[in-house]
């Protein structure tokens, strides 16, 4: 890896035109959930970007997060990982094994001390001295603490690393905790989800690469661009919710008509994530589109929050007041919805736009 070469130099050496680069930046803006007009700002920042070193540690996890990322589509993992970052250690993906693998991690930590990005998936078990998960004879706790010291920032990938996740569910036999329960002196981004949306993982990496710093975060440490709104805010079935049209079973008339899944236990109203718009499997769909309610996998303790099939106890928005507003305005519920959604979206967009400008000033 040549450390000083910028992305623009590398692309022009490969004969990639400026127009192609602008197209790539348009795709990045979409992926980072930034306003599409920011593509030219992204282009300006990216042309100066250097390739950061990335160390990825996998702890008490199921490898679903890595699966999610390696199945990601836009822009391809290939182009992202190999052109834009230098993945210096990932014990599932790397070719090296045993001492050579651990050596690669040591070398990268020394060479890029204070500068590398540390990605972590999986929770960290603390009970009984951390014996429940070890790598090369060392506990996850030990390895995390060591790697965190030289990291510029940490990205906790998946609900396990972000919030403890499934290993942390009652009765938590291994004493599993989140990265943020252990590391207190480094910036941490939580990319929750079980698994997280691949485009969100790559979007955060792209943001770091583009602007040289982490994106704006919510109170749970999640990037606002992706977790700023609930599934319910952006759900295409939302007009049915507002009209009070609910499926009562998974095979009734309402289910066949694609009505709202609230009464079947959908956790969309309390779940912050980007599934409803970013979608899964290359944009093919997301659980609600397949007829199953959201299970809330990007929220803390989702596993212990009661049955996935019990309706949330109170409606998230005051349905009556929305339809009243609609009646007053003489418009359909759908239009009233788009007005409330639009106001909310503008708020989120504004905070995002602020972020972009600040980031650019910082460069």
């Amino acid at each position: 890896m040549s450390e000083h070469e910028t992305l623009e130099q590398r692309l022009s050496e490969q004969g990639v035109s400026r127009r192609a680069f602008l197209k790539f930046c348009a795709a990045l803006a979409t992926m980072m959930a930034l306003p599409p007009s920011s593509a030219s700002a992204i282009a300006a920042a990216l042309s100066q970007a250097k390739r950061p070193s990335v160390i990825w540690l996998s702890f008490q996890e199921c490898t679903g997060c890595t699966e999610s990322l390696t199945r990601s589509h836009s822009p391809t993992l290939e182009s992202l990982i190999f052109d834009m970052i230098s993945l210096d250690y990932h014990h599932t993906l790397q070719a090296a094994s045993g001492h050579a693998a651990e050596q690669a991690r040591d070398d990268a930590m020394k060479a890029f001390y204070g500068k590398y990005l540390l990605l972590v998936d999986g929770s960290i078990p603390l009970k009984d001295g951390g014996v429940y998960s070890t790598i090369a004879g060392r506990t996850n706790l030990d390895m995390l603490e060591e790697a965190a010291k030289g990291a510029a920032a940490i990205v906790a990938v998946g609900s396990c690393a972000a919030f403890g996740g499934l290993p942390n569910a009652q009765p938590n036999p291994t004493g599993a905790v989140a990265v943020s329960d252990i590391i207190k002196d480094k910036p941490i981004v939580n990319i929750s989800g079980c698994p997280p949306i691949p485009a969100v993982i790559t979007g955060v990496l792209a943001h770091y690469l583009t602007f040289g710093e982490l994106p704006a975060l919510d109170e749970l440490g999640r990037p606002k661009a992706f977790y700023g709104e609930t599934i319910h805010d952006r759900c295409y079935r939302r007009p049915f919710y507002d009209q009070g049209k609910f499926a009562k079973t998974f095979d009734d008339e309402g289910a066949r008509n694609g009505w709202c899944l609230y009464e079947l236990g959908c956790k969309g109203p309390t779940t912050h994530n980007a599934c409803a718009t970013t979608k899964w499997n290359g944009g093919a769909g997301f659980p609600i589109e397949a007829g199953h309610g959201c299970i809330g996998c990007s929220e803390p303790k989702f596993w212990d929050a009661g049955s996935f099939y019990t309706p949330l106890s109170a409606p998230a928005a005051d349905v009556a007041s929305i339809s009243q507003a609609a009646a007053v305005a003489g418009a359909g519920a759908a239009l009233a919805l788009s007005a409330t959604d639009r106001a909310k979206r503008q708020q989120v967009q504004q905070s995002r736009e602020k972020l972009t400008l600040e980031d650019l000033k910082g460069n």
Partner: protein, 134 residues
């Protein structure tokens, strides 16, 4: 029982209401283009659609006189809709996945302009050819 026996009805695409919201947004931007020459972009990937509404929007906007194809790190399809000044811009990657799907409100979509960096490089190439043939 065969798969045809499972009764699935597709809900009427136009009854859900998401399309109307975006048409309103397009009309606002188009008004700004007419009044002040302002360009705008709408990221379709950030908007909620039912499975049918996406196609519904396409049908609603229709196709106008101009279609362009960009062959650059994968295809891009750019066409003017039935409403002059409203362009549908879809970028694909080399694998054929959609990486950006935009409605652009402008007289010409930005990506179609020749880029000065590319023009300069091209001029260099042309001069090179001429100098070799002298």
């Amino acid at each position: 029982m065969s798969i045809q026996d499972i009764q699935i009805k597709v809900a009427d695409a136009h009854s859900i209401g998401n399309i109307n919201a975006i048409l309103n947004e397009i009309a606002t931007h188009l008004g700004n283009l007419v009044a002040r020459g302002d360009n705008a972009l709408i990221d379709l990937k950030s908007l909620p659609f039912s499975p049918d509404e996406y196609e519904g929007l396409r049908a609603m906007l229709g196709r106008g006189e101009v279609t362009a194809r960009l062959d650059s790190i994968g295809d891009s399809e750019i066409y003017e809709t039935h409403f002059p000044g409203v362009w549908w811009v879809t970028h694909y990657n080399v694998e054929g996945d959609i990486v950006a799907d935009l409605i652009e409100i402008a007289d010409v979509p930005a990506i179609l302009h020749s880029q000065w960096e590319d023009v300069r490089t091209g001029l260099g190439r042309l001069r090179n050819i001429l100098s070799q043939s002298e």
